[in-house]
C-alpha cells in the first residue's frame, strides 16, 4: 500500500546533513505517520575503526549536493511503491565522522515485520549502490579514498 505523499515529506524523510541525528526521533517521525504501523525496521550504519586490514582514525564523507538528495528521494519513492510499507526515512551524514558515530540511518514502518525487513535491506543496498557519496578514511599511514585502487 502506497499512501499519497503531501509535498514536503521528502525534506522530512530524506536528509543529507552534517550534524548527527537522533535514532529515536527518526523512529518516532515514521511511527507518527500512521496508526496502522505494526512493525518498524531500522538499519544504522556507524563508523568502524578498521577497514581492509588498516586501522582507521576517522572518516570524512563527501557528497554531490543535489544529486545525493535526488537519489535518496528516488530510493524512498521506489521503496514506497515496490514494498507493502507505510513510510521510510533515509538519512546520511557528511563531513568528518569519528569512530563509533552514526553515518546512515534507514527507518521503515510497515503493518508487518516481513515487508519492513525486506524494504530496509533493499533500501540500504540500493543507497550504497547508487548514491553519490564518497568515503575518505584517515589512517595512521595517510588518507585513502575507498576504492582508490580499482
Amino acid at each position: 500500500m502506497s499512501m499519497q505523499q503531501p509535498a514536503g515529506d521528502d525534506a522530512k524523510f530524506v536528509r543529507v546533513q552534517r550534524e548527527d541525528f537522533s535514532v529515536d526521533a527518526e523512529i518516532n517521525r515514521v511511527r507518527g505517520r500512521s496508526k496502522r504501523i505494526g512493525g518498524i525496521s531500522i538499519f544504522l550504519g556507524t563508523a568502524r575503526d578498521r577497514s581492509k586490514g588498516r586501522d582507521v582514525d576517522r572518516i570524512t564523507f563527501e557528497h554531490y549536493e543535489g544529486m545525493a538528495q535526488k537519489t535518496l528521494r528516488e530510493i524512498r519513492e521506489r521503496a514506497l511503491k515496490d514494498f507493502d510499507i507505510i513510510e521510510v526515512a533515509i538519512l546520511h551524514r557528511y563531513g568528518e565522522i569519528g569512530i563509533g558515530e552514526n553515518i546512515v540511518l534507514i527507518v521503515v514502518g510497515a503493518e508487518h515485520r516481513a515487508e519492513a525487513f525486506r524494504a530496509c535491506t533493499w533500501a540500504i543496498d540500493e543507497l550504497k549502490r547508487i548514491t553519490p557519496i564518497w568515503k575518505l578514511e584517515h589512517t595512521p599511514e595517510g588518507e585513502v579514498w575507498v576504492e582508490e585502487h580499482p
Partner: protein, 88 residues
C-alpha cells in the same frame, strides 16, 4: 567552455581541484569530453575507460553519446562509498 565538477578520488587526481574548465573543440558529446580528459588528465581518462569513474550530466548518469549543452552540470563520479567491497 564547460565546467566539470570533481569528487573524491577524481578531485585528488586533478591536484585537488574541485572543478575543471574544459574546451570541447571536437564535439559536444560525453565521449568528446573523455577525449579531452585523456589528454590533460590521463589517470582520470583511464578510470573512465575502465568504467570505474562515471560521467553525469545534469545529475543523471550519462553515456558516451550523451550531448553536453552550454550550462549543463557535468560531474565525474568515482566509485561510491558503498561499492561492492566497502560497506558498513
Amino acid at each position: 567552455m564547460i565546467t566539470v565538477r570533481l569528487f573524491g578520488m577524481t578531485k585528488m587526481l586533478a591536484g585537488n581541484q574541485g572543478t575543471l574548465s574544459l574546451n570541447l573543440v571536437n564535439g559536444r558529446r560525453v565521449k568528446d569530453l573523455v577525449g579531452v580528459l585523456e589528454t590533460g588528465y590521463p589517470a582520470i581518462g583511464e578510470l573512465i575507460q575502465k568504467k570505474k569513474v562515471l560521467v553525469s550530466v545534469n545529475q543523471e548518469i550519462a553515456h558516451e553519446d550523451t550531448t553536453i549543452q552550454d550550462g549543463d552540470e557535468v560531474a565525474l563520479l568515482p566509485p561510491f562509498a558503498g561499492g561492492a567491497s566497502a560497506g558498513c
